[in-house]
Symmetry: C2
Subunit: 201 residues, 2 copies
DNA sequence: AAATGAACAAAAACTGATTATTGTTCAATA
DNA sequence: TATTGAACAATAATCAGTTTTTGTTCATTT
């Protein structure tokens, strides 16, 4: 039963107005007070609904928090997708993703949370599941790049996706790892090199 | 004055027997009780020395903890270096580093700490400074690979180092990022592809 | 010169009693 | 049928008082 709810949650029905109201209230509460100080009672008060309804849709507090961040991530991916449509090459797309990712981290909810509960943010950033959820984002772009012969058609899509993801994640959470990659130009030049030919050619 | 001590510490004189004794005692205490419950008094008791001596060599508790982990990292890098001498190619070396790094994390002091204070471990793993300290490790190996024409002689050493580091760190802290890279063979094959030609050729 | 150990105020950790929150159930309501 | 709101035990957060630890100083020892 709780499992069934979790499964229902995994296919997260954001169009259900009750789910949306709960997530809205929870997100607002987290932005104001942080995760630690977000209480189910407060969420109910803010969302003008009953605690019972929250527990019906989200099994427990952890699931609710996860729901909030999944929706935020979904939003981030949608905004990123929109940005990428304006970009011609895979290198441009990846560059834009990194810049956008850094911006989101430095200005979004994470920046606020990092001040009051940095350990929580660190733990989320080290959770591979957090990133794996956005793996499906890349394959279409990789196929496009292959069709335009920007990258080799022989490369396995799973490998390419993994590689792209690792580069993106690494560049977002570690802006400087020896070589300073602080601006679009530097990032793009770096990515062109490693995507085109690694350390060869 | 504290700055001077810190600077002295940065050039960390492990051969100074007093420094070694302090670090030994601190490391032992951390292994037993964790960082949070490590106290300067306990370190003094274990090392059979005075609290004053600890504060003479390490400005505060934070500096002492950092000292312990720097020495551990130094040891890790030395052991890694020894392992790499047996490897022929840059791909082999990087593969070995990843395997060794994962092993160290899963079996070493971090594994123990992760159980009692996971947030601390997460915070350390997200600290870019932690990795930047080992940047100097790679340039010689990159030069070697260039001399043997394994990788292009045209590639900037700083870029190559950054790239190698990002791959190593990413593969160690995120064993699975979509494509499972759980064994030596899979890791090596993956690295051969991305090092040799990125997503091109 | 460096290490010790005692003294000290300020900061942090601990403790136990109190209060708030969680997660569950269920009858009433819309 | 979904939501509500009340009741409830179990768990977790809070708080004020107490103890421990930190970081500093300095006279004494090695």
């Amino acid at each position: 039963m709780t499992v069934a709810q979790d499964e229902q949650f995994n296919t997260a029905n954001y169009s259900d107005p009750m789910v949306a109201r709960i997530l809205d209230a929870a997100e607002q509460t987290i932005r104001r007070f942080g995760i630690r100080r977000m209480s189910m009672g407060e969420v109910a008060r803010i969302g003008k609904l009953s605690r019972g309804s929250i527990y019906r849709h989200f099994g427990d507090k952890e699931a609710l928090v996860e729901g909030v961040f999944r929706r935020l991530q979904q939003g981030f991916l949608n905004r990123t997708e929109a940005l990428l449509e304006k970009q011609q090459t895979l290198v441009d797309k990846l560059t834009e993703s990194v810049v956008h990712g850094r911006q989101d981290i430095n200005e979004g909810i994470f920046a606020a949370l990092a001040e009051t509960e940095p350990e929580t943010v660190a733990t989320m950033f080290l959770d591979a599941g957090f990133y794996k959820r956005s793996v499906a984002f890349w394959p279409p772009h990789i196929k496009m790049a292959q069709e335009k012969a920007e990258i080799s058609a022989d490369v396995d899509t799973a490998l390419a996706t993994d590689f792209i993801m690792r580069l993106a994640v690494s560049l977002v959470i570690f802006p400087d790892m020896g070589k300073p990659l602080n601006n679009r130009r530097a990032i793009k030049s770096y990515l062109r090199q490693v995507l085109d030919s690694g350390l060869g050619a």
